[in-house]
């Protein structure tokens, strides 16, 4: 799977100048037209609609919705969930990418497939497995209950479900990048007397920093926006186990549409920021890879 691995148009530079490999202008503009209409209908109009709907009842209503205590607590919980899930999966991503790209071992491809696994599982199933693990009738549930620990329908469960669905993001950005960069620079550092840590901090990390940041941005976007998995384990306790996406759902189902879109506009802004950063970082990563390829 390679979602997110877009090709920066600046770098693909296919020269369509040759007459035999270019379509007739009519065909070309027709295709461009089809693409623009399709993307307009499915991407641009919905994006605009979010913000227009958010301000439908005026700016005052917009900020009232944002400043509502329930919204505020949803924002706080979302930040908390991301603050746990993102660092955990970042460290894991770097560690896993190091093991996978710097060494040869049996079963490596199976390991990569397992790391990708959470991507192919429905978010609802992802939430459900934690109910079966920690829920009242679950595997570890009775033991947890006896010790007064609540995981399901509480914050710990939401964090766990988010960690699960954002698990592969950092690792899968780093693995292809570090594979392409090889191990020669690290070997050189070791021969020059650098310790393992020094090699990692001074040689590996600077080389992967853009790819790493890119993975973190994607991971964070998903962590803050996850709906299905978190919904299953949350129990929807208003003001306590509501993240922003869950709060949007509640407002929408209460026919408080303008407020729902006002809160949704926060997430849409996050998505736009993620896209902007992603485009920028993708360009940097592509440049870094191009330098790797440009061996003299």
């Amino acid at each position: 799977m390679l979602i997110g691995g877009g090709v920066p148009s600046a770098l693909t530079g296919f020269s369509a100048s040759s007459a035999v490999t270019a379509e007739r202008p009519v065909v070309r503009w027709a295709l461009i037209g089809v693409a623009i209409v399709f993307l307009g209908l499915f991407l641009v109009i919905p994006l605009i609609a979010v913000f227009l709907q958010a301000f439908e009842k005026g700016i005052a209503a917009y900020f009232r919705a944002l400043l509502d205590p329930d919204t505020q607590s949803a924002v706080r919980l979302t930040l908390l969930v991301a603050a746990v899930a993102v660092p955990l999966n970042t460290v894991f991503g770097v560690v896993a990418a190091w093991a996978i790209t710097k060494f040869e071992f049996a079963g490596k491809n199976a390991l990569i497939t397992l790391i990708d696994l959470p991507f192919s599982i429905s978010p609802v199933v992802a939430g459900l497995v934690f109910v079966f693990l920690f829920g009242r009738q679950g595997w570890l549930g009775p033991w947890l209950e006896a010790h007064g620990v609540r995981v399901i329908f509480a914050v710990p469960g939401m964090v766990l479900a988010t960690v699960f669905v954002t698990f592969p993001f950092v690792a899968r950005e780093l693995i292809p990048l570090m594979k392409a960069q090889g191990t020669e620079e690290e070997e050189a550092a070791r021969l020059l007397g650098a310790s393992g840590w020094q090699t990692f901090w001074r040689v590996t990390l600077p080389n992967i920093k853009w790819g790493l940041l890119y993975g973190i941005v994607l991971c964070n976007g998903r962590a803050m926006g996850e709906f299905g998995a978190v919904s299953v384990v949350s129990g929807h306790v208003r003001g306590q186990t509501n993240t922003i996406p869950l709060h949007v759902e509640i407002l929408y189902n209460e026919y408080n549409v303008a407020a729902a879109f006002a809160v949704a506009s926060l997430l849409a802004t996050l998505a736009l920021a993620t896209l902007a950063l992603k485009s920028l970082l993708e360009w940097k990563v592509a440049r870094q890879l191009a330098e790797t390829d440009a061996k003299p």
Binding site: E184, A189, L191, L192, G193, R202, N207, K295, P296
Partner: protein, 356 residues
Amino acid sequence: MSIVVENISKTFGQFVALRNVSLSVARGELIALLGPSGSGKTTLLRIMAGLEKPDPGSGPIRFEDEDVASRNPQVRHVGFVFQHYALFRHMTVAENVAFGLRVRPRRLRPSRSEIRQRVQKLLKLVQLDAFANRYPSQLSGGQRQRVALARALAIEPKVLLLDEPFGALDAKVRMELRQWLRRLHDEIHVTSVFVTHDQDEALELADRVVVMNQGRIEQIGTPDEVFHSPATEFVTTFLGQVNLFHGRVENGKVHFATLAWDSPEHAAMPSQPVRVFVRPHDFHVASHRNGAPAFRATVRRVHSAGPNARLELVAESGESLWVEMPLDVCRARNIVQGSPVFLTPRDVKVFAESPH
């Protein structure tokens, strides 16, 4: 520092890269490991550096008197120059060179100003002092090569190991760097081993050449020795061009191409089929029989661009062969396409026909 490796073997899965290789390098020597790809030369170099571990049961790897076989690479004090240089692309030239000094433990680390001076001195040595603040991506291949060398020298290595140091450069830069490296070695005199598949490079640059093939050492000797007295058939064919004849040894004579060549050195060899090699420049070419033992051949083509004429010939016995002779001699004797000539070998190498 001298290097001695004994009975080193290395396998990668099914592939045998080195079979029982032993080699000793004297202090201050410049040694070339020469061989085709897959001959094990790079593996041997990486084992000396500690980048690969030899198979269990291999002998010691001694630097001077110390066995370093179990030592980590970062304490072996080897300067290693990678084939593609492995420069740190996020560091400037100066930072690359300083790296090995900066990562030392605090008590062994030179002061900042000292590091700066050392870097400057090294960059001057490799003639890159004007490029200290450039990034590797802004340098040409030859310049990157020299940065890699300066970086390796910065840790004051006792041994310098270079993997195909000129492999990634174009022909003209190769020649220049080759001479420059020889001069540099004469100046700093650090024990050096380099890997190459280019015979000219090995013969021109090295004090001694180690010819390798299929994980084994075929011959170790000075460039003169390996070129003029090849120990094996592989060395003969790998170094320079040769003409091959199938013949026989009988009673101290080598029979090939209608010729019975007196060869006292093969007197002891039992009668058997042999392969006979003669280099193109090791023939005397006459237009008439003059009493010397010679075989007859017909000139097919004459290539006269260059200081030597290269003749494409067919021997009377059917073999095609190449002969080189000075152009003026060729013209004086009026040797042209279709001329019959008489060839007398000056030097022949004879090896028993291998059983397969």
